[in-house]
């Protein structure tokens, strides 16, 4: 049984990379996952097999330090930072020359761990390794390398991950409200989240009342969901029905996700319905028909198609090139999703390299603000080609990027204007009060995804396959 299924599908070009080449060594960020027994599970570049000796070395390092009751956390060299993260029976390692902080890199490893959990659940992984210490987890992750690759590319290029916040598509609040109402009306028992996404940004989300009272939906869970949608070929398939775990919501049980695009063949508007009932496919698919009909009746798709991100020039502050704003001032009773808003990256940040350079500057500012040893509230940073200002208060976290010649006084005035603009536009930029519905027949039993599901993951087929 050990030999398992180890065909590497042809489209995974990363996997074919020669692990002895210079280009392999020069990647900005390597990520490896291995089991406690030292078995390779995943490598971002090059196949895990070709790398098994590298992973062996890492494992030796980890166990050596562990034996001294002293869990290894990171290793620094002139060019690289190596960060270790142990989660249950899995060891995750990042080798980076991106100059990010250890905390940030560890946060990214945590996303990788959570994405694995989202496919297998924490409970199954622990059980598998309890049964068999040297189990080859690649058997269960076969075919999912692409999902992890995609996640790591997003982590590098999308600041949502750095900020652990959701980016929603700016939309007239009247349109957003009517979309929410459409979702609110299309319900069936055990439906817990209805989510509408366009161009990889959130349009609206409706949450089940009693479920959300117990645990809130974390941005990271939404990121993982969106990454999964991106990686699945739902656009060809029509409708997808798949078990998925939301690790921060509950790492041990599955939801069942219905995924379908509403605008084939363009496939930009995606509907996601999460149920706790694995047999509910037809009932949930029926909700989609209702949603589709209502959207046609209200001409919603063409309105959504017109929605787009905004340009920083709309703010009307000269010298301001870009910003990221994450508010904290939403009443907690609403079980608000943490969100942020940010304009398109425009010239001079149009090329991929320049975008990455700006993101790296933001990451640097972020690491200073969130430094575990010496956190800062305000940083004014004059870089070579731009000037940045980051500011965190009890109400918001803000990162701004100005042209290099701006003075500190100017920047402060600009930020005052920016904050005023955001206040004026907030109805459009954010989902202010996430709507809810009630679908659980017996609320007292429905907490955290439902009891039946909890059981489900324990009698899940994996064990019989060992």
């Amino acid at each position: 049984m050990e030999a398992g299924t180890q065909e590497m599908p042809a489209f995974m070009t990363n996997r074919d990379e020669d692990v002895t080449s210079d280009s392999w060594r020069q990647h900005r960020k390597h990520v490896f996952v291995l089991s406690e027994a030292g078995k390779p599970i995943y490598s971002r570049y090059g196949s895990e097999e070709a790398l098994s000796s590298t992973m062996g070395v890492m494992m030796a390092l980890v166990s050596f330090v562990q034996s001294g009751d002293n869990i290894i956390r990171s290793v620094y060299s002139e060019l690289h930072t190596v960060v270790f993260l142990q989660k249950g029976p899995l060891v995750l390692v990042c080798v980076s020359n991106s100059r990010q902080s250890e905390e940030q890199l560890r946060g990214e490893l945590l996303y990788v761990y959570y994405q694995i959990i989202s496919m297998l659940t924490q409970a199954s992984i622990s059980r598998i390794f309890e049964h068999k210490k040297n189990y080859d987890l690649r058997r269960l992750l076969a075919g999912s390398e692409k999902i992890l690759d995609g996640l790591l590319n997003l982590v590098d290029s999308d600041p949502s991950f750095l900020l652990t916040a959701i980016h929603c598509l700016p939309l007239a609040s009247s349109l957003r409200d009517s979309l929410s109402q459409i979702l609110q009306k299309a319900i069936t028992p055990n439906l817990v989240f209805s989510i509408l996404v366009a161009k990889n940004q959130l349009l609206t989300i409706v949450q089940e009342k009693t479920v959300i009272e117990d645990a809130r939906l974390e941005p990271a869970d939404v990121h993982l969901l969106l990454n999964l949608i991106g990686a699945s070929s739902a656009f060809q398939a029509g409708e997808i029905w798949t078990p998925i775990c939301l690790p921060l919501f509950n790492p041990d049980c599955y939801f069942y996700a219905y995924i379908s695009y509403l605008d084939p063949p363009e496939c930009t508007v995606c509907l996601l319905l999460l149920s706790t009932d694995k047999e509910a496919f037809y009932a949930v698919a029926d909700c989609k028909r209702k949603i589709e009909e209502a959207m046609v009746a209200q001409n919603a798709l063409s309105l959504i198609a017109k929605a787009h991100s905004y340009s920083v020039s709309q703010v009307g502050v000269s010298d301001l090139r870009h910003f990221m704003y994450k508010p904290f001032d939403v009443p907690d009773t609403y079980r608000q999703l943490t969100q942020f808003t940010s304009p398109e990256m425009e010239a001079p940040y149009s090329s991929e390299e320049e975008k990455m350079r700006l993101l790296d500057l933001y990451r640097y500012m972020h690491s200073r603000i969130h430094s575990s040893t010496r956190p800062l509230k305000l940083i004014y940073h004059v870089a070579e080609r731009e000037t940045l200002l980051a500011w965190v208060t009890s109400k918001f976290e803000l990162y701004t990027c100005f042209s290099p010649l701006v003075t500190k006084a100017c920047a402060i005035t600009a930020i005052t204007k920016l904050l005023r603009w955001i206040k004026k536009e907030e109805e459009r930029l954010f989902i202010r009060y996430p709507p809810k519905y009630s679908t659980t027949p017996n609320p007292s039993k429905s907490s955290r995804g439902g009891k039946s599901d909890q059981q489900d993951s324990t009698e899940n087929g994996f064990l019989t396959l060992l």
């Binding site: 692409k146 999964l228 060809q236 409708e239 997808i240 798949t242 698919a285």
Partner: protein, 199 residues
Amino acid sequence: MVLLGSSGVGKSCLALRFGKDEFRSTSPTVGCAYLTRMVHLSDVNLRFEIWDTAGQEKYHSVTPLYYRGAHAAILVYDISKRETFLRAQVWLRELEKQVVPGSSVLWLVGNKGDLAEERQVSVQEGEELARDRGLYFSETSAMSGFQVSELLAAIALRVYECLGAQQEGLSEWRETPLVNLHHRDTFSSSAASCCRVGP
């Protein structure tokens, strides 16, 4: 109809061909994909609900959701990978436990027929397995389209006959003492398992 088999054997590509007669390289299916297709037989239109399941092992625990109650189960393997042929036999054993004999059409499909030079499973082996276990058998290529529309039409016909036979079985049991074996006579010997239900 449910499509079963190891990851990468071409289930989603077959499903795509069934519908649109085109070929695209696809990502591994997540969970299960649901599609509907109309098939025109000479005197009737059948609407197929197709469950294109994920071959990845992590999804196996949910697959029985889909084959329970299916009228047709298509077991797909890749003729250039013996292991997928063995895996198909595991699926077959599983199916035999779940499916009432004769209530469903079972079909063994050797896909990637275009990879003849890398063939690891001979046509005879496929045919033999199908004959021994009472399945229908085809070899296809989702890439070139070889035998794909023929396969769908043949499945549709068998399902239609199978449903017809069951209905007749029912009506006969309720009303008329007349035994009508007309449908069953048209089957080849290897096909007989399809419609064992009835009088």
